[in-house]
């Protein structure tokens, strides 16, 4: 068998065809891939080696033939004389099964790395996703993750999570559960979270009802609202009877949740600031008052630190937002809850169907149940949709509305449905999906802030990464007045969702979440470098990935593009042309090279 083969490829591998590559990964230097049997062989790699030895040789020829002048010291290189004609497609296929174990290679240090040793991350290809067996084995008897979750996060960082256990794993990645929580603690949190979510939903229904009544009072004689108003009235009216009769048999927590407060005094001032305050503070004061059964649990199981931070920050922001919600009058330059409700419904029915193959149990929903769930949240205009998509849309509405109440400073902003849709597809319980979304939004909410500070900061970081890595490209961008990196705006806002396929998105997000979870848990650089030097976890992995996607196209941008418009078009057209693991490799490379520099830069700002 082949014992050890070094496979070299230049930066301009056929992967990044379309004129990218080039010096974009100049820091990458050359890839040294050690195949199979060398060390720590992976099953697919071995199998592959056995089955496709010939193809492999062909590709090695190919790789070597592309190696050009910069000869590598790898002695075992089977320096072929003939140039191979192996197609790029077989190359692509091969890359997906190649298992990379190479450690740093001095040859790969380019000038921009200033002699820094390359991290093993730079040779990484996707390892195995965290498997159900591994996941199970990571827990102690009392249901605690071993070693504070370090091993767990490392696995996810390198290969993502197996589809079948995503629903279980994500709450850990997203901070719904602490990494060092026990099973018992998690059960308590889960119960509390469910109740809190249901409470938010009750408020949503009350607000919907309230809005309708205001519409009715204010807009009499005005044809314009009749369409909207009527649908809202029906919507809010129907769930009460719906809930009482048939909905309980269904699984969705939206359909199941008891509609206690519907029978309450409808004229109560639900839209007043105080009440909104209560919604925000639902986890503390309000819950003890109004829902005594929640009380003890809420107080005793004090959740993670961030959770409390979150609450305080939210209460502070409530003053502003409660004024926005004061009645349905539309203040200029201000969005109110009614606006959010409208846009949420608009976006929910146009969520695409990509998730369906990944969510088999949600893919088959009886029409009656789909319609019931739509009615329960006042969703109309879904006539053109299949039942499973109606159901999906209804769940999006329920959770997004609850979130708008939970975080009124952000409320609802277009793009948030893009972020929620994968979570809803993976997690079948609304309340669990909601809290995962809350965890996701802890960081992502910056993207949707009214003052745009979050977005600008992130665009700024992408610009810095590009500037530090590739001053030539950056100068070109400056010349085109594109150095604000506005062209990656969409990637930043919806975290690559529009450029990647469903599965690719989940992989990227999981790796990114693992980094963020490591930082949350205080697993710093030292824990990672104990084994070998690696890219430290960063809060900004996404931004490095975005910069990497631009750098992959540096040649094209420099040589062919002479306006920002062209770069925007290129970036918008990336959809379907990205290799997520290659992108993550490049991103991790950038982290290794630039992390300290970036940190220094931002701390002196």
């Amino acid at each position: 068998m082949i014992s050890s083969i070094y496979l070299n490829s230049n930066n301009d591998s056929p992967f990044i065809s379309g004129g990218s590559g080039g010096g974009g990964g100049s820091g990458r230097g050359r890839l040294s891939l050690i195949m199979a049997a060398v060390a720590a062989p992976s099953t697919p790699a071995v199998v592959f080696t056995a089955l496709a030895g010939l193809a492999l040789v062909a590709v090695i020829f190919y790789g070597a033939s592309r190696r050009s002048n910069n000869s590598n010291s790898s002695s075992s290189n089977s320096s072929p004389s003939s140039s191979s004609s192996s197609s790029s497609s077989s190359w692509i296929h091969l890359r997906s099964v190649l298992f990379v174990v190479s450690s740093s290679s001095p040859a790969s240090c380019s000038t921009s790395d200033r002699g820094r040793l390359k991290s093993p991350w730079s040779r990484r290809r996707r390892k195995h996703a965290l498997s159900p067996q591994q996941w199970k084995s990571l827990f102690t008897l009392d249901g605690k993750l071993r070693d504070g979750g370090i091993k767990f996060l490392k696995r996810v960082r390198s290969g993502g999570v197996d589809t079948s256990i995503r629903a279980e794993v994500w709450p850990f990645l997203l901070g719904v559960y602490d990494l060092d929580s026990t099973k018992e603690e998690r059960d308590i949190i889960r119960t509390r979270n469910r109740k809190e979510y249901e409470k938010l939903r009750r408020r949503c229904r009350q607000l919907l009802k309230q809005c309708n009544e205001s519409f009715k009072l204010n807009e009499i004689g005005e044809i314009s609202y009749e369409g909207d108003g009527e649908s809202l009235i029906q919507a809010s009216g129907s769930p009460s009877s719906e809930d009482a009769t048939s909905a309980r048999q269904s699984l969705s927590s939206e359909e199941r949740s008891p509609d206690v407060e519907y029978s309450d005094d409808p004229s109560s001032a639900l839209l007043e600031g105080n009440d909104v305050n209560n919604v925000d503070a639902a986890s503390d004061t309000d819950s003890t008052d109004s829902d005594s059964s929640d009380g003890p649990e809420v107080i005793q199981t004090s959740p993670s630190n961030e959770f409390q931070e979150d609450n305080t920050s939210k209460t502070a922001s409530t003053e502003i937002s409660s004024s926005q919600m004061n009645g349905p009058s539309r203040l200029p330059n201000n969005e109110d809850f009614a606006t959010w409700q409208r846009i949420i419904r608009l976006d929910a029915v146009r969520a695409n169907a990509e998730w369906i193959p990944f969510s088999p149990c949600q893919a088959v929903i009886p029409e009656s149940r789909a319609i019931r769930s739509a009615e329960a949240v006042g969703l109309k205009e879904y006539g053109h949709l299949e039942p499973n998509r109606i159901f999906h849309a209804a769940r999006l509405v329920a959770i997004l509305e609850a979130y708008a109440l939970y975080d009124p400073e952000i409320g609802y902003c277009q793009g948030m449905s893009d972020l929620l849709s994968p979570i809803v597809s993976v997690i079948s319980e609304d309340h669990e999906a909601f809290w995962c979304f809350v965890g996701f939004m802890k960081k992502a909410r910056q993207n949707f802030r009214l003052d745009e500070v979050g977005i600008r900061r992130q665009l700024d970081i992408v610009a810095k990464i590009i500037k530090f890595k590739d001053s030539h490209l950056f100068r070109h961008l400056e010349k085109l007045q594109a150095d604000d990196c506005f062209f990656v705006y969409r990637m930043v806002v919806v975290l690559f969702r529009r450029e990647l396929t469903f599965e690719q998105t989940l992989c990227l997000w999981e790796v990114m979440w693992a980094d963020q979870a490591a930082i949350r848990a205080g697993i710093g650089k030292s824990a990672w470098s104990r084994i070998r030097q690696r890219a430290p976890p960063t809060d900004d992995l996404l931004l490095y990935a975005i910069a990497a996607s631009v750098l992959q196209r540096r040649k094209l941008i420099i040589e062919k593009y002479s306006s920002m418009e062209e770069i925007i078009k290129e970036c918008n057209g990336m959809a379907g042309h990205l290799d997520i693991w290659k992108l993550l490799d490049d991103a991790h490379n950038l982290v290794v090279t630039l992390h300290d520099k970036m940190k220094l830069e931002t701390s002196f700002r």
């Binding site: 044809i223 608009l346 053109h384 277009q414 062919k560």
Partner: protein
């Protein structure tokens, strides 16, 4: 890229922006005009998207570069880049949702704040195919358009009704403004070498680009 360059044979390049509330059909107007496509499920636009199409106006080939963006008011970080250099705008509302018409005044103000005074604006009442759901009368819209000196047309991106007309009208009007400008400047031949950028107004942004070296440097 190839496609983008392939239709490079034009006399003028005009940037036109689509504005208006979420869900009024801006993206579908764009796709109907540039690709003759329509989708009931087009996702909300994040950031900006644009597409181009060239048409003939008075013997000249006019390439329209039409920009589309999110309708939600919140997305304003992009505002300046979005409006920069625009010489035409379609201000779109949904004839079945009155609130989108009410917001037209606000959109118009924002447009005026960020663009040159000579910008050609057309008020567009989209989804006119939904006759039974109409919530904004033609009279109201016409009155508004007259008051604000904008053009007005009702369209249906779904039925392909008036979409072509609306864009063509805007492009024709821009062309006539630009021609007039060029004529004024043209008295001094040295003032406008071939391939020079023509500004509709006083801004130094690229507004209307006469074909020449400027785009192919």
């Amino acid at each position: 890229m190839g496609a983008y360059r392939a239709d490079d044979d034009y006399d003028y390049l005009f940037k036109v922006v689509l504005i208006g509330d979420s869900g009024v059909g801006k993206s579908n107007l764009l796709s109907r005009f540039t690709r003759n496509e329509f989708s009931l499920e087009s996702k909300s636009t994040i950031g900006v998207e644009f597409a181009t199409r060239s048409i003939k106006v008075d013997d000249k080939v006019v390439k329209a570069q039409i920009w589309d963006t999110a309708g939600q008011e919140r997305y304003r970080a992009i505002t300046s880049a979005y409006y920069r250099g625009a010489v035409g705008a379609l201000l779109v509302y949904d004839v079945t949702r009155h609130v989108t018409f009410e917001n037209v005044a606000r959109w118009l103000k924002e447009l005026r704040d960020h663009t040159d005074a000579n910008i050609v604006v057309m008020l567009v009442g989209n989804k006119a195919d939904l006759r039974h759901l109409r919530a904004v009368s033609v009279e109201d819209a016409t009155a508004f358009a007259e008051r604000e000196s904008t053009f007005f047309m009702e369209t249906s991106a779904l039925e392909s009704m008036n979409v072509e007309n609306a864009f063509t009208e805007v492009l024709t009007q821009i062309h006539s403004v630009v021609s007039k400008k060029a004529l004024e400047v043209g008295n001094d031949p040295a003032a406008l070498p071939k391939g020079q950028t023509i500004n509709v107004g006083s801004r130094d942004d690229v507004s209307a680009v006469k074909k020449g070296g400027c785009c192919s440097n």
